[in-house]
């Protein structure tokens, strides 16, 4: 979801105990909703959607998207919105992801940066709250690299989608990342030292 007022959005402080009232609409928590307030005072309902299917080639990785709900019921994850409380919005979305992962402890959720501004916003949000978030999540940043192994004689690069390499990296407090190497994508996984609801039920 795009955010106006980027400066304000860059100072997001995640607090999983200060969230909007989120309602899971399905039993698997793949569809949730909550209401946010824009800087104009307008209330807007946001949807949080976790894909029903994992990626066909990456088992256990599910896409997470959030944003206002279009008239046709789809989620507009590219909408630009200026929230009164960006921290509470992001905290609520992360709480939804946490609750889903508690129920599916072997799964991961992936969040697409979609463009450089959004990828930077997500990265700043993660980095600024890494100590807090790392007690619950393992968070990975992913870069896409293009292997330029072949070059045509006329100087054109012969690129093929198969030349793309995906490199996941655990985001740590000590890392220093250049803008050119900014992650394109983020994956959240639950830390394995937590007793999940599933394991409790099995007991």
């Amino acid at each position: 979801m795009g955010l106006n007022g980027l400066g304000m959005a860059l100072n997001i402080k995640i607090d999983l105990e200060n969230i909007y009232s989120i309602v899971a609409k399905d039993g698997e928590q793949r569809a949730s909703e909550f209401d946010t307030v824009l800087t104009t005072g307008q209330n807007v309902r946001l949807g949080v959607k976790i894909s029903h299917n994992s990626h066909p080639l990456m088992l256990n990785v599910y896409n997470l998207a959030f944003g206002p709900i279009n008239k046709d019921g789809t989620i507009n994850d590219k909408a630009k919105m200026s929230h009164q409380n960006h921290s509470k919005v992001f905290s609520t979305v992360l709480f939804g992801a946490l609750s889903f992962l508690e129920e599916h402890p072997n799964d991961s959720v992936g969040i697409d940066g979609t463009n450089n501004a959004r990828a930077y916003l997500y990265y700043r949000c993660i980095r600024n709250n890494l100590t807090y978030l790392s007690t619950i999540f393992k968070i990975f940043g992913i870069n896409y690299y293009i292997r330029m192994l072949r070059q045509a004689e006329d100087g054109d690069y012969d690129l093929d989608v198969e030349d793309i390499i995906f490199s996941p990296r655990l985001i740590t407090a000590s890392e220093s990342i250049r803008p050119q190497k900014l992650y394109n994508y983020f994956i959240l996984k639950l830390r394995s030292n937590q007793a999940s609801i599933s394991s409790i039920i099995k007991k």
Binding site: K25, Q29, S51, L57, E102
Partner: protein, 66 residues
């Protein structure tokens, strides 16, 4: 985050999950979320996915051993 805070949050998440199980319907937001997902769109081969999952597992183990 203190251990108490963490346990409170996890407890709330579990309660949320149980509530969803109890009251949730078969509702789905329409649309395929992978259709616009850059990783999903570009990951095309089994070899790419296998390497990716191997690297992800390695990083995940690194996090567990921190």
């Amino acid at each position: 985050m203190t251990e108490d805070q963490k346990q409170r949050i996890l407890q709330r998440a579990r309660a949320h999950a149980l509530n969803a199980k109890k009251n949730g319907t078969d509702f789905k937001f329409p649309g395929d979320p992978w259709a616009n997902d850059s990783l999903g769109k570009m990951m095309k081969t089994k070899e790419q996915a296998e390497l990716f999952m191997f690297l992800l597992e390695r990083e995940s183990n690194k996090a567990d051993n921190e």
